[in-house]
Symmetry: C2
Subunit: 242 residues, 2 copies
């Protein structure tokens, strides 16, 4: 059996999704819960790696196991076995060849900025606190240049081994709700640290400390001309489409 | 000098506001930060005790110390010394006789219910997860009976030594935002566990498992006829008025 699970996790206490020796990961916690629930071997495949501290509203993974159990019971049972920081929100049975990573058509990320000097205990590790007032309209204008099919090499962490750095961004938006700014971006794929580097670039452009415009930064295909890498705390995998 | 501080805290990691030996409290953390910041003895007086696990959006305390420092600098400095779970949101200089508890005119509490079977990692310890669907309109109708000056003995934890159990409730409301229900109540004062017992009573009335109506429960002045004590996780001190 192959189950497609949609999960949410608070990434603050995890060293990302992907298995690591001697570090807590969401994949390890999910695999342990699945093997305990199904009382049989179970392999858990995620839709993407995530960095340490990154969150997910709707991450997708698929679980392969020998046992057949109704999806509703999988949701209930898994949630009794998972820690508070991870929750299964939905489950469906999918064909044996469904693969959470390879079959993904697009993803949407959100990046949350707490735009004030006053900390919020309820957003600690869940947003990037940035005190200097940001102009959301300018952020939205700059972000709109990303839409379309571009070579996004400027927004890939240096050292990444990916060769084809062309991706298609479908949509961007920047919205303010009080002190909380949410930058949303959907694309057919993302390079390593792409959303965090784009966020840092939007902030640098806002503060007038970037040497080039967003259009130029895209065209230059050079990591050094883009902005800083915003911290993982504000990043959420919001949706994965198949 | 006497400073009035408005603070927010995530109560999940604290055994309430009030000093305790061998248990982490918000008062201890605030006192330690104040003494370190003012580099002088400082006494921190809170507007009320809070139970272990209870949160605050805007708790008020006053800090007495010998040192005179501009309020803005107090906010900034205290926040660099406090853990992520506590934040100073505002500070003002007040007359020497200002007392956070005695001078309080009214308070507003919020109680958050996550009304679904699916856990939310971002609301773990921050809302009461209650799976059975609740009728918010009926909750609001029942809560409205509380408005006015009444003897609220039915909603006081047994064992409390308070003799005068009459309080004036100014306003109540119950609102739903997706799966999250927020019950709000403001009053000139609250008895021990009053909001949590009222919340449990609203839920029991909703599910038809209460033997009496809200009006009868108020009139009977008897803890045993009211509902269960809802857990601390969902309770927030939202505002304190002077």
């Amino acid at each position: 059996m192959n189950y497609k699970l949609t999960i949410a996790f608070d990434g603050a206490s995890f060293s990302g999704w992907q298995f690591q020796k001697n570090a807590p990961t969401v994949q390890a916690v999910m695999t342990e819960a699945a093997q305990s629930f199904f009382t049989s071997p179970a392999t858990v495949t995620g839709c993407s790696r995530t960095d340490s501290g990154v969150h997910a509203d709707n991450y997708v993974c698929n679980v392969k196991t020998e046992r057949t159990i109704p999806p509703d019971a999988v949701v209930r049972g898994m949630n009794t076995l998972l820690p508070d920081s991870v929750a299964v929100k939905g489950c469906e049975c999918v064909p044996e060849d469904f693969h959470a990573r390879y079959d993904c058509k697009s993803k949407e990320y959100h990046y949350k900025i707490l735009n004030t000097n006053i900390p919020d205990p309820f957003l600690a590790h869940r947003a990037y606190k940035f005190g200097t007032k940001l102009d959301v309209d300018k952020m939205a204008e700059d972000a709109a240049y990303l839409v379309g099919t571009h070579d996004f090499a400027s927004f890939m962490a240096s050292g990444s081994k990916i060769v084809d750095t062309t991706r298609t961004v479908f949509n961007t938006s920047v919205e303010r709700d009080g002190d909380l700014i949410t930058f949303s971006i959907s694309a057919d794929g993302f390079l390593y640290n792409m959303v965090r580097i784009i966020t840092g670039t939007l902030i640098d452009l806002n503060l007038g400390r970037a040497k080039h415009s967003m259009r130029e930064i895209i065209e230059m295909r050079e990591r050094s001309v883009a902005g800083f890498t915003a911290p993982p705390d504000g990043l959420y995998l919001f949706k994965v489409n198949y």
